[in-house]
Symmetry: D2
Amino acid sequence: MTISVAVSGASGYAGGEVLRLLSNHPDVTIGAITAHSNAGQRLGELAPHLHSLADRMLVETTVQQLRGHDVVFLALPHGHSAEIASQLPAETLVIDAGADHRLESPEAWEKFYGSPHAGSWPYGLPELPGARAKLVGAKRVAVPGCYPTSVQLALVPGFTAGLLEPDDVVVVAATGTSGAGKSAKINLIGSEVMGSMSPYGVGGSHRHTPEMEQGLSAAAGVPVTVSFTPTLAPMSRGILTTATAKVKPGIDEATLRQAWASAYKNEPFVHLLPEGQWPATSSVMGSNHAQIQLAFDPHAGRVIVSAVIDNLTKGTAGGAVQSMNIALGLSENAGLTLEGVAP
Amino acid sequence: MTISVAVSGASGYAGGEVLRLLSNHPDVTIGAITAHSNAGQRLGELAPHLHSLADRMLVETTVQQLRGHDVVFLALPHGHSAEIASQLPAETLVIDAGADHRLESPEAWEKFYGSPHAGSWPYGLPELPGARAKLVGAKRVAVPGCYPTSVQLALVPGFTAGLLEPDDVVVVAATGTSGAGKSAKINLIGSEVMGSMSPYGVGGSHRHTPEMEQGLSAAAGVPVTVSFTPTLAPMSRGILTTATAKVKPGIDEATLRQAWASAYKNEPFVHLLPEGQWPATSSVMGSNHAQIQLAFDPHAGRVIVSAVIDNLTKGTAGGAVQSMNIALGLSENAGLTLEGVAP
Amino acid sequence: MTISVAVSGASGYAGGEVLRLLSNHPDVTIGAITAHSNAGQRLGELAPHLHSLADRMLVETTVQQLRGHDVVFLALPHGHSAEIASQLPAETLVIDAGADHRLESPEAWEKFYGSPHAGSWPYGLPELPGARAKLVGAKRVAVPGCYPTSVQLALVPGFTAGLLEPDDVVVVAATGTSGAGKSAKINLIGSEVMGSMSPYGVGGSHRHTPEMEQGLSAAAGVPVTVSFTPTLAPMSRGILTTATAKVKPGIDEATLRQAWASAYKNEPFVHLLPEGQWPATSSVMGSNHAQIQLAFDPHAGRVIVSAVIDNLTKGTAGGAVQSMNIALGLSENAGLTLEGVAP
Amino acid sequence: MTISVAVSGASGYAGGEVLRLLSNHPDVTIGAITAHSNAGQRLGELAPHLHSLADRMLVETTVQQLRGHDVVFLALPHGHSAEIASQLPAETLVIDAGADHRLESPEAWEKFYGSPHAGSWPYGLPELPGARAKLVGAKRVAVPGCYPTSVQLALVPGFTAGLLEPDDVVVVAATGTSGAGKSAKINLIGSEVMGSMSPYGVGGSHRHTPEMEQGLSAAAGVPVTVSFTPTLAPMSRGILTTATAKVKPGIDEATLRQAWASAYKNEPFVHLLPEGQWPATSSVMGSNHAQIQLAFDPHAGRVIVSAVIDNLTKGTAGGAVQSMNIALGLSENAGLTLEGVAP
């Protein structure tokens, strides 16, 4: 059986990564490849790394072009995907790599996005408690944001196990520049970003913050508050998340390790590293892998969890393909690798 | 049928890349993984990106460990592979990623390596005229050097077609630092190489020079002389080769394009880009792909050919796996991708 | 008047940066340049960027070589500088870029360094309250660590003004690889660090932690606890510090801004950026400048302060030269620039 | 005496670098700072690394704004500088960092730029034979292009000494991305350029080619033909030029070395490195220094010369300031450093 798949937003980095993964997926045929301002161009001009699709033409992103496929991936600016998805048949599996359907709370959505809430969909982070079951057979999937993927993978085991205080999570994360999109802006040109690190979205304003709090709160059973600061690092791909939370009284490092080890012991794509080994983003480059390590600082009373993912793979397109695989009952790792391209 | 494969030199970058590719190869089982100074360690400590093999232990590189596999990959310093290969059974497919068996001329070998010549093997660059036929069924394969791979792919079509003068080829190439190996040297540390470019092996002293001349001379039917200058670029992977040769009188750009287009039109892993599109190393990152473009400069009387490969993949481990596939009659692209990990 | 200066540890990055700055200092003459394992070599071989000193020979680091200068810079491993300093005349200005004399608490020293405490010296961070006065005329100066420089500059104004809670400071910082020294280690080679971010010294174990707490506690008047996580970024120079602290009830962002603006309004080398402009490490590359910005996150109850410095300049050698200038009554900015080398 | 200086095009990289150097120049006062699309903004918003000028406002680039200064630096697109310069008083020293007045040949200008030739000015590469004398007292100076600076410094000594064949120079150069300007283009964003090398302007089409040939031909006394291929490297600054030329019969390496050593032995900013030491672009970062090394390849009959400069400093703004110093009779190295910011 071959599954027909359409990919919209294919001229961006997220859409391109979906195509890269699908090119090596044993069960799919790539149908329509759509874009907006780049419609009418050969894919090879825009994404020369996708050679097997180089002669495919980008068509305009419309419901007509996307209809008639078994699966539609949406890699569109927020607002656009909700509009298009609402016009696609209910039996089509729609996987939205954008933000429109991630948040359950209309209030949180409106506060951070300033527009009406389009409703939430099953959440494409299968490693969360209960998430995989909701994805099986689903026809609509909201792919998590890249930062929320890493932050939830970093902290959920501790909250699920009841080991962490909910009121003062502090997260600082560094992302590669592809996280800022394929966008011609002066602050993103190589001369500006190479050899430099800088923060952005500081002070609680980043739109991924409520998504992190949603997942951590669900795990904790009480509201969790996150101080989140993203930074831009001089690399194309990768997220290194440093997530810290106060540990409840009486908990020691062994108990903490046990919670994380247990949460991920059967996961194909998320692993706690052996004690003493710290992760590096290069280890997961191009793979769907998340590597995690933690340490307890008794002096500060905090656990510090480091998590690395490739923002475009596990953080976006890989998570999307993994969710598709689960939704359709395919092998969960079809089209995905556990091996990073390193060095 | 599953093919058992041993990989020696697995703690280095070439050996690690062979393992990365084999991890996703549908027809092989990875047997012994050997090293020398790192024997006794978990692979996961040395190569955390190879997670599916993380718990495998490195064993000492000996004939005993390597014997008994269908295929043995050697990623060893020159001199070592010849010695080990001579003790492996004739029916074992031995693929040497090192230099020992690349050169046909004992004089060239001795001049550049200063030791006795161990004899030449079928040459693992299937895109050369006649090379694929010699690889089918071969039990010994010499994988080309990374620079010679790119230089021969860049220029052989022009020499084969008789369009280029043999006496004054000039090549300048830039390589990522992985080409210098996983070696703890001050001049290779990040602080020294980031933000910097530098030449090395200047003046005809680089050991890959006679290998380039061997391949180009064979294509030309007369001796070809190459001036080769390698440079080190601030990136981990990739080679950008700029190869120039004088064009014979009366030849125009269309004739040149036709020669390259024709040479590569049926190749799975080497492509001449559409006119006007120049290659970038990022497009082939982690893939077995070579992208090529050329321009004729009538003022200087030279054709300039740009070729990009990933030095560790098509330049080493990918070429090795491609050669294995051909030698064993597998699908030539098994375990290999055409899509680069970009951006 | 010309001041004679000796520089020890000149083959390392800190010593090299001291020499770079002194080469353009109007008031000094560079005398002995010393090293240990590299003694006997031309400086030009080891530090080709210091062309005006290229033909100077490195001599062995001994008291004899250092004696007889007006100023001695020590850029040595901890333990070594205390030993040498104790043998230098009391009238020599000794500026220690190492750790030996930074900590006032013998207990903190012994806990983190495991050796007897050598006593504390006037602290070379003139922007701290009261620090400049202690540096005037001093004959011994302890240059702060690079991370503590950035963290104290980031947070001291808030503690001095009584606006911050002392019990839960969280700091995550990213440093360029030169912070790890000129050391031939596999984990520092370019192939490993380019395109990658990774944490180290996680869980409260980094030796700069007690130094941060010392300075913040002095400013707060009560003990301050810091959770500190350093990370290694793919760039040669620069530190981006993200420092967060809980804000006392009733304090708003305007009050916070006012405290920082007031603290730095007359400082030559430390500046709060205009509201809305966030710092980047490239802006201070090679300069003695620290750029700072802050935001208040009322939801999380924290102020987030971003501070950027060049770890080798304001974070080490520039701070050392600035301290020398103050100690000797020279112009505080002699030999130092406020302009970064950007892009 | 203080010299008043205006800088136009100050929002670009060349103009910014002129300002950085002038900020530390002992003899000048910076007057008007002009731009076009960024007029009306604070300099600190656009160039946060120029802190001492952060509060200066950019004014529109007009003759009125520029008039009344002793010196005017033009860092404008070609065509614009000629127009403005023609309206500035003859007694004003006008230093054009653009291309308009570099070429002596109207035919070459029209062929490569497609517009009428504005005439040539004294050429701001003082290290060329006879160039310094023409700069003394000059009121108009054409600053060389960055590539031509490095190529002429690399090869002129050999042509002046009559050691090189004029008919087949091959140059391949790698530049940092700042050479492509501060321009918001997709192909220049960090995600595209980091970890990647690519060629551009291949086949003799780069506009710097006739400028190289002009200088080399003048040195050789006969027309010199250059095949020039520029490449873009993943770094912000720096040019590594690999320049090769055929050596005349009977010339050996010692004779070659002697020619270069002799040409540069008294130069303050250009040096032949000791034998065996190869240059790296990081060594000259931010400095006005050019480092050169050469090797003779008797097999290929070519000399290979490596030259490194900072494209923005010695390649543009540093060369401009050096020329100003000579024209006005100031110390040639005022405001310039020989020390690179490394690592």
